[in-house]
Assembly symmetry: C2
Homo-oligomer: 271 residues x 2
């Protein structure tokens, strides 16, 4: 479709629920821009981002019974606001928020109030992408918070799709969790750029997963930095669910604007 | 104010009009996050970003009479949508859009339709910041597109505030303009990261402005990359209007959450 045709009917708006943590929403918008095939400013897709950190109760706090306030209701308010701003599809860059107790409640709540914006499921999109593009991968390692390990948010759908799944041994799990949450060197405290200690811990954890047989590693927390890790790790593909979500969002509204799969991942298709 | 007090009344929402070009809005949200004094996810301020590139006619095309479609009306629609999403104050990271023919029309249009979201003026905020924090600066150099030079969007308010202003000689102006717009090596085509050629051109232009007496340089186009230039240039302060706008937006709604001025600029206060 030519640029002049594109301008006849306005492009459909992609919505982003941000705020879990402050950078995750912005990073997803960046990834949407990066994955869009555009030759001018005007070719880029319209995106609405609502990043309201304080309104969203910590997901793990709810899931582990420390509060009965389900963040799904605040997330539903934000999704309705995105719908009101014109979004026809939306994504939520937070792995923990995809726990069924939150995600399913959110979808039911929004559907029940008459809004038809479609919320993609980041983890399901990731597993589908891996099935479609990585037929030679047998065993997948996952890096995530302790909460996401406990909830098996990646293990369950990956196994259902036929992958073997390996996770770090308990001491390394603890180290990964600390690397995300530690208030001095952790990724939530300092992620742009990550501290050398955080980066080294993650590289060690990836090496540990490879030693347990991983042919690919899912960076299953939106705080895990793709770029600096990818530059150092060329042994196995690193899968960034937020990047896959960005691609799925573009594909759902403007497939003609989706860039080819990056060489980093595409190269792996042929091995 | 303690964190618990903050959660009693919800924080006020900052709006961002993005899309001029695709990265500028995201970069402003990043700068708001960076300039916010926060010790947890929940301390960060709520931000709404609407980035609709194709709806906004190129500002220079309008200002130089190549079309009579004033982008102010599309910008007003976006600002009203930010108001509807709860924004009480907003910013627009595009220098050219602050030309009076656009900015004043936009403000009148939104005020005339009963919306009271307040749009800060990025260039005025920048000049006020420099007046307040840089009393020892006499001469300011500016880097911008040819359109912004022709419109004197930085020169006029800087001179009104008592600064001398220097701009590049015509061949260097042309080189700066090309560095922004060139479709192969230019910043609009490739800004994350900038190409070596683009970066070298900008460093040359800054050296040229210093040779013409500049004690500070305003990076007067939101495509000009602060971080890589700042790392190489420690001779004069580089002023990023989008960073000043981020600070002004925070200050206008939650001054208690504004970080101190960065050492890069604060150090200059005492010379």
């Amino acid at each position: 479709m030519s640029a002049s045709n594109m301008s006849v009917s306005p492009k459909k708006v992609i919505g982003v629920i941000g705020g879990m943590g402050p950078h995750a929403g912005v990073d997803l918008v960046d990834k949407i821009i990066e994955q869009t095939n555009a030759s001018s400013d005007h070719d880029h897709l319209p995106v609405a981002l609502l990043s309201y950190p304080e309104r969203i109760v910590d997901r793990s706090t709810f899931l582990f019974d420390e509060t009965d306030t389900n963040p799904a209701y605040a997330l539903a308010d934000i999704l309705r606001a995105l719908d009101a701003a014109g979004a026809v599809v939306a994504g939520m860059p937070c792995n923990t928020a995809h726990a069924p107790a939150i995600f399913d409640t959110l979808v039911d709540e929004v559907r029940g109030t008459g809004h038809d914006v479609r919320l993609l499921h980041m983890i399901e999109e990731t597993v589908q992408f891996m099935q479609a593009t990585m037929p030679h991968i047998d065993t997948v390692g996952t890096l995530s918070t302790q909460a996401v390990y406990d909830l098996q948010l990646h293990r369950a759908p990956l196994e259902a799709a036929g992958f073997n799944v390996v996770t770090p041994d308990p001491p390394m799990r603890e180290r990964v969790n600390t690397t995300i949450f530690d208030t001095t060197f952790g990724l939530k405290a300092q992620s742009h750029p990550a501290t050398p200690q955080a980066k080294q811990n993650l590289l060690d954890a990836i090496a540990h997963l490879i030693s347990k047989g991983a042919d690919a590693v899912v960076l299953g927390c939106t705080e895990l930095p793709l770029a600096p890790l990818a530059a150092d790790m060329d042994m196995v593909p690193l899968i960034d669910p937020a990047e896959i979500l960005a691609r799925a969002l573009i594909k759902s509204v403007h497939p003609d604007h989706l860039k080819p799969v990056a060489p980093r991942l595409a190269a792996f298709q042929t091995t």
